[in-house]
Symmetry: C2
């Protein structure tokens, strides 16, 4: 159907994604794949909508078109945003929603049985926000065969971006550039954080006549803790004024039609302390080395080790990963949850892979983030956005 085509890719692109998924299913020995991750659902079919707070899935059987499964009222969204025909949409009545007596996966088990898709090896995403332990049990009880864990199977296929996907991420990069420019322009002592966030959303969303597009919602809200609170990486904001003598990191992303370009910068109001100046030097030098290692044929851990080596030289311990793959995402995470840039991850880098090189430091009494989103190419990595790579000081 696809009445709404704003968010969609070409039919050929969806066909290729489906073919690659079926190959991976065969390799994993899976006859039927059930994916509940909204990013996977969107990647496979174009499905878009804020309906992931109820149980839903895209199901790929041994043959034929994918099937959309969800709440009755959301079938209208599926018909509008995907290429699917009404016959390929299974929806459960509303009294299954958030019920203590009935589970949508009971319903799905019955429907799979009707299609004779219940006897093969059925893959489900066992470590995903959108497929619960009770859902697993309900589906398991309702089907003849044991379920197989295929967490990440589709996520891994999403890792290498097509040219059309890279185009969206570059458009998102223009947005995040605008967001950081706005922050640098507006932030000053006394400005309330909630007002600054209003400005950040404004820069994230407004239509630009020259670009010919506006923004979508990022999968994570702005994170902008200040001073010693910036030791905690995941605080959002409050309505208190910004203060002189404090550093604040801004972890934000531009988003264009669900594709993300995350990017962080740190701003110091007043004269920066030596702590911040040292962190800047260490992180920038480490990033140079990490970017140098971000080449096809190298591995995820090569980037991480190159970065961590420099930090160690500066006496800084960062005991968390330094990046993750990015692209199409829905809340709560703009990462793809497959590989990570950390020691021990030997995933080989290939052209078209995209990462948030997350070089943030969260130390005892301050936080510091200068990051880049990159695409792996045949040569040096492409930094998707162009935002001055430095500690921003407003005195």
């Amino acid at each position: 159907m696809a009445i709404i085509d704003t968010f969609r890719f070409t039919d050929a692109e969806y066909e290729s994604r489906l073919a690659r998924t079926r190959e991976a299913m065969e390799k994993a020995g899976v006859d039927v794949l059930i994916t509940s991750d909204p990013s996977n659902m969107a990647w496979l079919t174009g499905y878009d909508g804020w309906s992931f707070y109820v149980h839903q899935a895209v199901i790929i059987g041994p043959t034929g078109e994918p099937v959309w499964f969800g709440r009755e009222q959301d079938a209208q969204g599926a018909l509008r945003t995907t290429y699917m025909a009404e016959a390929d949409i299974i929806c459960y009545p509303d009294y299954f929603v958030q019920s203590n007596e009935r589970h949508p996966m009971d319903y799905l088990a019955a429907k799979l049985t009707e299609r004779a898709w219940h006897t093969g090896r059925i893959g489900v995403e066992m470590d995903n926000y959108w497929f619960s332990a009770r859902g697993y049990r309900a589906l398991s009880d309702g089907l003849a065969n044991e379920l197989v864990d295929i967490t990440g199977l589709v996520n891994w296929l999403r890792g290498i971006k097509s040219p059309a996907e890279l185009d969206r991420m570059r458009k998102a990069a223009r947005i995040v550039e605008r967001m950081h420019a706005r922050i640098a322009d507006k932030v000053e002592p006394g400005m309330r954080k909630c007002d600054l966030v209003a400005d950040i959303y404004d820069a994230a969303l407004r239509y630009d006549e020259e670009w010919g597009y506006g923004g979508d919602y990022p999968a994570i809200v702005p994170l902008l803790p200040s001073g010693t609170d910036a030791a905690a990486p995941h605080l959002t904001w409050d309505d208190k004024p910004m203060k002189t003598g404090e550093g604040t990191f801004f972890e934000i992303a531009g988003c264009f039609r669900r594709y993300h370009c995350p990017l962080s910068r740190t701003i110091f109001l007043g004269k920066p302390t030596q702590q911040f100046l040292d962190a800047e030097k260490a992180v920038l030098e480490g990033m140079e080395m990490g970017l140098e290692a971000a080449r096809a044929g190298n591995t995820c851990e090569d980037i991480a080790n190159a970065f961590f080596d420099v930090l160690r030289k500066w006496g800084i311990t960062k005991n968390n990963r330094t990046g993750y793959p990015i692209g199409l995402s829905y809340p709560p995470d703009w990462g793809e949850r497959t590989c990570s840039l950390r020691p021990g991850d030997t995933t080989v880098l290939q052209p078209g892979m995209t990462f948030h090189f997350m070089t943030g430091l969260w130390l005892d009494d301050f936080g510091f983030e200068i990051t880049e989103s990159i695409a792996i190419t045949d040569g040096a990595p492409e930094c998707l956005a162009d935002v001055p790579r430095k500690l921003i000081v407003k005195d």
Copy 2:
């Protein structure tokens, strides 16, 4: 600790919540409760932060203080936003994050065993976004006893709001009033939807000098489909211009320190069709009857039946629930996922309960939403926000 006190309630309030939780645990025959729902975690301890994309939980053992469990880097957030001491914080090393070899619940099982909390009946939220099927299996494998499903146990306790919670919801109501006023002021044919959403966020967030506060992020982004697309309830927005001759519903919420006041209105640009005028009459008449039934001692289904009876008189079928409890929430849902306003739900209404009376219609070729958020009192329900209850026409 609680270095940041912006979001916190009094110690007495947290003590009372903990005591009520222990009572409910005893009733459910549970010795240890593990809650992964960020709204439950916040309600019990004050914990706040966008860290729910990794595994985390609050654990209540048979005696003593609650325990916070999460990623190492997020311990800083726990120390800052909760009343908890460092000794009550268990955090797992970063190499457990999104790993294919290790699961944070392996780590938790070992830690519970160290505390000798592994032999009793251990309750987990089996139908919750934040506790996966693989997490269930890892925890199950690592503990001596079978896990008990306590989905919703804490959510149900959140149902009746304290005066301090109602105060936050009333503050959120001022915000949603401002958001709807802004929409009505700004919307016009040719305005791009993404620009309108920028205005909606601006009205949702900015500090108001008279109120003395600004806004927080709502758990759901604005939903504002137009024309026939409004038949789908959960579409977000694009960057296309608003059109004359189309109706658009605006499903939004004000949010103050994680407490929500959702409220929807519909705007028609141009001369509204008879379809919209009829929907307005039916919904407003039905809402009057529903609000009349929203009294302590009545049940959830009484409200729904009163509303549906009027719709039937107008020949309108709404085959989905007409509301849900609201309050403290994190994405992906501002509902509490306990009772629902629908036939068959005999939950008794009590003073202090709060609901989004979700009277939206999503029909074949259009959508229509005029809703209210209400608090149950000793008398007539309190409509939290005061937004003109009518179809808004801009000609």
